[in-house]
Symmetry: C2
């Protein structure tokens, strides 16, 4: 088993191992977070893994109950939080209970948020089951829900008490969602680890074939990098924002596409844009975009903006992004692979130029 530690205000461990799911109940007993567990999953994961985990928990003598919500980003809203909370209250869950988030990023964000506000906060653990959740969303304590006006607009910083990563469960993950996660891994390579970037280049085929050993490596490296960044900046005061590499334009594309394109795929395009921006602004000390585009293509990820999206709409979403600080739009750019820098207010015309360039055939 591989173990990482996130050194936030309340530190916690990330455990990584194939087949880890079966070891969760015994570890939970040691952690002793509560006398009763609310296991929260979306409809899809509940069917694939939820009932099994529930059995494991009960066999180990733990009191647990499964709460299910419909799979998909559309569920990540306050109505779902309220209806899960009401079910838990009616089932008698009190302050001495704990929450288990079993699922992808939607489940993690939603269940983490719920745990943070349920009776003003109960402990929770993350069991991420999508690649995106395993390499990104389950670590760092950002929880939240969407509003019609935008994603993740309401939420908390609320660190989990443990993160259990069983990469074995990825075998059932749809291919699109595998790629979705790989985009975030490429991001870690860009902002922090040329070695990881190279590993992706050399193992793209294996990864696209769900090779367990390769997956383990990239999950460990991704979590290591994210844990380090989060340990140094728990509440996104500064450094943590390097994790937004590719996300600024990525989010705008996601919004302009009405969330019909997966997040990681948008981030993929956003990373290309950020690399181009780095080059055009003279921030980059070497050409990055060709190598990046090649890697993303090898990972089956998009590198161009769909033609049907309106340039002006993308640009307007860019300004609405909550990464606008005191009215300033801040991009994460690259000096070179592994060396990110913040850049304030790149010229509007340049952003437009890049969007149009990425839209052209």
């Amino acid at each position: 088993m591989k173990i990482l530690e996130v050194k936030t205000g309340k530190p916690y461990k990330i455990l990584i191992e194939g087949g880890l799911l079966t070891e969760v109940p015994e570890d939970l007993k040691k952690l002793n977070l509560g006398y009763r567990y609310a296991l929260i999953s979306d409809s899809q994961v509940a069917e694939l893994l939820g009932e099994d985990l529930l059995c494991l928990l009960k066999e180990a003598g733990l009191s647990a109950e499964l709460f299910i919500f419909p799979a998909g980003e559309a569920s990540k809203n306050m109505d779902t939080v309220v209806s899960l909370a009401r079910e838990m209250i009616r089932a008698g869950f009190d302050r001495k209970c704990a929450v288990i988030a079993l699922g992808g990023g939607v489940t993690g964000d939603l269940a983490g948020f719920l745990a943070s506000i349920y009776l003003r906060g109960v402990p929770y653990v993350q069991i991420p089951t999508s690649l995106l959740a395993q390499v990104d969303s389950s670590v760092g304590g950002k929880t939240g829900v969407d509003l019609p006006e935008g994603k993740n607009l309401l939420g908390t910083f609320y660190q989990p008490w443990r993160v259990y990563i069983d990469y074995g469960v990825l075998s059932t993950l749809p291919f699109e969602h595998l790629k979705n996660g790989l985009a975030e891994v490429a991001k870690y390579g860009c902002i922090s680890s040329p070695e990881l970037f190279e590993f992706l280049e050399q193992n793209s085929q294996k990864l696209l074939n769900y090779d367990a050993e390769s997956l383990e490596h990239i999950i460990y490296e991704s979590c290591r990098i994210k844990a380090e960044v989060v340990s140094r900046d728990e509440k996104e005061g500064g450094l943590r924002r390097i994790l937004n590499f590719g996300h600024t334009l990525g989010h705008a594309i996601e919004a302009a596409a009405n969330y019909q394109i997966l997040h990681g795929l948008c981030v993929s395009i956003g990373m290309v844009a950020a690399a181009l921006l780095s080059e055009k602004l003279g921030v980059a000390e070497e050409k990055i975009s060709p190598r990046l585009v090649k890697l993303l293509e090898a990972l089956g990820l998009p590198t161009r903006i769909p033609q049907e999206l309106e340039t002006e709409e993308i640009l307007s979403f860019l300004r609405a992004d909550k990464k606008v600080w005191k009215g300033k739009l801040i991009f994460v750019l690259l000096k070179k692979l592994g060396i990110p820098v913040f850049y304030e207010e790149p010229p509007k015309e340049l952003l437009k130029e890049i969007v149009e360039e990425l839209k052209a055939k």
Copy 2:
């Protein structure tokens, strides 16, 4: 001006003065919590004070906008939080903004909760305008909303950056709400200050006539006591629960009455019940209930349970109360005035006996 300090993780000051409202803008400038303020008020307070404060803020050169929700406990739910948040987002409020909660406990709990989750948390200050809010809810950082299943079931611990108490604004507070706040003041006397208890006994008439000097004294003393308790136990791990004196049965009565009786009035009855329980269990070293009943009556507060409430319903709400810890019902009782003790699981029959005694003519 009187100043108190609450020594929580993030310490903050409570400022108490008649006419303080006019000094808020200059103080906010010094605090420098954000470059833009969302002033949140209920419909009633917005009309009485909201527009005035908005003007004061703008005259002082601060950017502010007023967000209004319908007055009343019925608004204290997630729908209101979501609709206020959406309005703020649409008005362009970003992470560098701050929230001002201007109003009673409903506004404070709601706006504080909103501030704690808006873009994962923005600073907020409390300007309590009801007596209950000035002596209780604005201090201590408990925020939250109700669910159909019960009050305050979702929320956070999120301390304000400042509490501004202007007792001058109480002049327009409806009489019932004045009494509502006085019940909580009597509570502080019971659990912590025989002197305050005596002051109430000697000044009940003045207080019921909104006498400013007497109000200032009881507000200061109440905040002093609450600040001390909260400083020692920010997240209600133990000690803080002494503030629940009178609330255990009080909440059950409130729920059984379908929230048609004001909170403080229910707490008033609950305190009498707790005093009787203390005596019957032999916890009290002296008779407390006769003196307590006399004071509460002098303050125009109820001391008996309305006949139409079902005993069994009250008792069942008692068990559902979230103060049931690991399945245990914990009461705050009194050894004598000013000396509270926790008592686990008083006999069910005794509780029933007291409820019936308090219902009898």
